[in-house]
């Protein structure tokens, strides 16, 4: 009797959820946070230190935490498969360890940052 691979199922469902969050929010964040101030469509003051702190209320912090972790998780999950695709499947275990370690460390840095960013 075949045993369902519960770990892979959870990893995949998280990946799917992350894909959705990234698909919905990453493009607008790139535009407002980087591209528009860069090309002058928005004033660079929009992303100055003070205005960043100004918009980082508790809800915004939770929102950015979710978006950052979801995007990194989603992208690294696919990066793992890109590595397999180019012939590195025999390093499956080290690649899993590396990919999920990067995700966990990123999530910890994100939590640390969003707790410690000072209030304006």
């Amino acid at each position: 009797m075949a045993e369902p691979d519960k770990l892979e199922a959870v990893l995949w469902l998280t990946f799917t959820l992350g894909g959705f969050i990234a698909a919905l929010f990453i493009p607008v964040i790139i535009v407002i946070n980087n591209l528009a101030p860069g090309i002058g469509a928005l004033s660079s003051g929009t992303v100055s230190y003070d205005s960043m702190l100004g918009r980082l209320g508790p809800l915004a912090r939770i929102f950015f935490l979710i978006v950052v972790v979801a995007s990194i998780y989603h992208g690294m999950h696919r990066f793992k498969f890109i590595l397999f695709d180019i012939g590195l499947l025999r390093f499956k275990t080290p690649i899993y360890v590396l990919v999920y370690a990067i995700i966990v460390v990123s999530a910890l840095i994100a939590i640390y940052s969003l707790i410690l960013i000072p209030n304006p």
């Binding site: 009797m1 075949a2 045993e3 369902p4 691979d5 519960k6 892979e8 199922a9 959870v10 990893l11 995949w12 469902l13 799917t16 696919r78 498969f81 397999f84 695709d85 012939g87 499947l89």
Partner: protein, 247 residues
Amino acid sequence: MASQKTIKIRVKRYIPEKAEEPFYSEYDVPYSEDMVVLDALNYIKDNLDGSLSFRWSCRMGVCGSCSANVDGKPKLTCSSFLKESKGDSILVEPLSHFRTIKDLVVEIDVFVKKLKSIKPWIIRNEEKPIADGEYLQTPEQRDLIKQTSMCINCMLCYEACPVFDMDNDFIGPAAAAISYRSVMDSRDDGAKERLDILTSKHGVWDCTYIGECSVVCPKAVDPALAIQKLKAMGGISIIKSLLPKKK
């Protein structure tokens, strides 16, 4: 006989008792508009070189035996017309994701084992007596399994699947599509059991939705999408089993 038009057929050969490595043989075959690659192979076998080996049966895209790479693309040789080929020669090679036994004949146990593992028959909790008649379906219920029922086990999807090439243990497109068909079948009670098999190690999770399986399928089955649906169904089924049961 006046100047009969001919076409060059290049066949990748493998004869283990003759050479360690595969080699190519070239044959000039009389050409006509209505000929398919399988006709050319049969012409070679009957008239030019009796040692050429290949599988075939129905000659009409139903049996799924005559799969090969035609000009580098996975195809049924019985459904590939000579006139579709652009150059003045046609290259015929065995499926490369399977071991070659001889010439175009490949070792298919690896696929047959997968087919068995998914139990491609109807699973019932309780069989009803024969006297009670058939298990009926509405047209709507039938529509759900219509497309995946078309699979003829030709293995072209396995030839198109790089994941299977990298890891022969991967359940692969056809087996998953056939199992999806069973899961969706209104007469079948084995959905949970089937999803458990499909979501186990080397199951649907290895698929990265490259999608070429659905492109090469000669029967317009869409295994790639079936696998993504199975991931969603299987994932939800596993999460449900992990949650504490209410009652």
